[in-house]
């Protein structure tokens, strides 16, 4: 059982502004597991504690209660090598392009593996591989990261985390502020990553469409607590409850529900466009 759990979050509690009259309990008894190779979606309204949670996964924040186990070891133990952990749990912050600082894209991507104390050959190899992985061209290598477009900058930032070759990749709202095309490209790149590298991915998002389409499991957060932790189909069956906390089910789910109440015999658990299409065609076929 244990080897099947890569990372265990065990009753995490975290508060901001401790010792003042504005204490915010951002995490309130949060427990869940990340399995190897799993694609996990983390959704919740703004302020529900998603970003706070993901900063615990690589030990950037120390919880006020509870702990995290990685490969069976308590990462907040005194002697635990948290710097090494950050290479294994790669965290891409929201708007990661704001953290770029190097003169060239290549140097920027080398920053992560360099910090891990690898030898220069290995660092450069990883950097080339990561840059190719995120779909940036060779010409970019010697350009200044500040001369790139917004979407490209974000790819550079993601590549710089990928170059550390993490076992779990955590992306905090990676599609925020991108146009629809950039968004789709980025998401299919992430999907690709998981298929070719076999790493676990945690995708933080507040767009149901993003999540429904790709992930194996969804964790829904509200006010620092986990509300649901289940497959997309099960979670999105709770459309009413999701709406109550400022979320929603994917749009196609609503369409299916409307069709159903209008008398068309469709399966309302469909959450992706393809599923909706199939069930509608099927229903029409039966009728006609």
């Amino acid at each position: 059982m244990m080897e099947n759990m890569k990372l265990i979050a065990d009753h995490l509690v975290y508060e901001y502004n401790k010792g003042t009259n504005q204490t915010v309990r951002a995490l309130d008894d949060v427990s869940f597991v990340i399995h190897p190779g799993e694609f996990l979606g983390l959704i919740g309204h703004t302020g529900s504690g998603k970003s706070t949670l993901v900063q615990h996964l690589n030990a950037l924040l120390r919880p006020d209660g509870g702990t995290i186990y990685y490969d069976g070891a308590d990462v907040f133990e005194k002697s635990y090598d948290r710097k090494a952990l950050r290479g294994k749990v790669g965290l891409v912050f929201q708007y990661p392009e704001h953290q770029l600082f190097e003169e060239t894209v290549f140097k920027e991507v080398c920053f992560g593996p360099n910090n891990m104390g690898l030898d220069i050959k290995e660092v450069e190899q990883r950097a080339y591989a990561a840059i190719a992985r995120v779909g940036l061209t060779e010409e970019c290598l010697d350009q200044s990261p500040f001369d790139l477009s917004g979407g490209q900058k974000r790819r550079v930032a993601i590549a710089s985390v990928l170059a550390m070759q993490p076992e779990i990749l955590v992306l905090d709202e990676p599609t925020a502020g991108l146009d629809p095309k950039g968004r789709d490209e980025l998401l299919s790149m992430i999907m690709d990553l998981r298929e070719t590298e076999g790493i676990s991915i945690v995708l933080v998002s507040h767009s149901m469409e993003d999540v429904a389409e790709y992930v194996d499991r969804i964790i829904v957060m509200d006010k620092g607590k986990i509300l649901y932790d289940d497959t997309p189909k099960v979670v999105f069956a709770h459309a009413k409850e999701l709406e109550a906390i400022g979320l929603s089910a994917p749009q196609v789910t609503y369409i299916l529900q409307d069709l159903k109440s209008a008398g068309l015999d469709v399966d309302t658990t469909g959450i992706t466009l393809a599923e909706a299409r199939n069930t509608i065609l099927e229903a029409l076929h039966w009728k006609g």
């Binding site: 010792g19 009259n21 950037l60 790669g90 704001h98 985390v161």
Partner: protein, 276 residues
Amino acid sequence: MLRDITIGQYYSADSVLHRLDPRTKLVGTLIYLVSLFLFATPLVYVPATLFLMIVIFSSKVPFGYMVKGLKPVLFLLLFTVLMNMIFVKGEVIATIWKIEITKEGLKQSLLMGARLILLILGSNVMTLTTTPTRLTNAMESVMRPLKLIRVPVHEIAMMMSIALRFIPILLDETDKIMKAQMARGADFESGNLVKKAKSLIPVLVPLFISAFRRANDLAMAMEARCYHGGEGRTQMKPLRYTGRDYAAYMILLLYLAGVIVTGKYSTEVLDWIGVR
């Protein structure tokens, strides 16, 4: 980490002190600071400390939170105290490794330490209980006479309020960038001084870029709302004194009188305590 820096940051609460007119607090703080320098006798620190304690208590800002604000200046504080202890000449009471500690030096350094702590806490009370906007409004209003000699009072106040507003924002930003670089394996703690200084580059570059971006956005937003300086500009909430403020001024005067009496007649006061 950086969040521990509470100097200059507003602490929102609902207290008498929060509701005072910012001008009262500004003038009050100035009077308090001056009162610390009026006399050299240690006795004046009794009313000064008492007064500050009462003010802090009525501000509803937790004392621990306020003391946390002393942390960044701890080095300066220790430095001043040590310098005074070592370099003031007089009657030697102890010698540690060729350094002579004198009675006068000890007395002087303790006095300096107490003065600095009261000074910092005193001004901290003002910034903790007054929003930057109200504080700069007060400054603008108090400095208004300087307009006669062509000092650009409004512009100075506006710059101050923007600077004050940016402090917490930039601290937040620094925190975020440091975390992002730590997520990429950066290490800000270990290594020698040169290595530590070097490790700051990945923080400073994005920080400067972000500061410029924010400044640019702000300038654009101000222009979009037709900001054109102080000429003919009115305020949405003009400052107005109320009964509370007059009471505060009375208390201030009483305090000042207390300090002057203890300072002027310090020997008599000591005698009196001694006689009792």
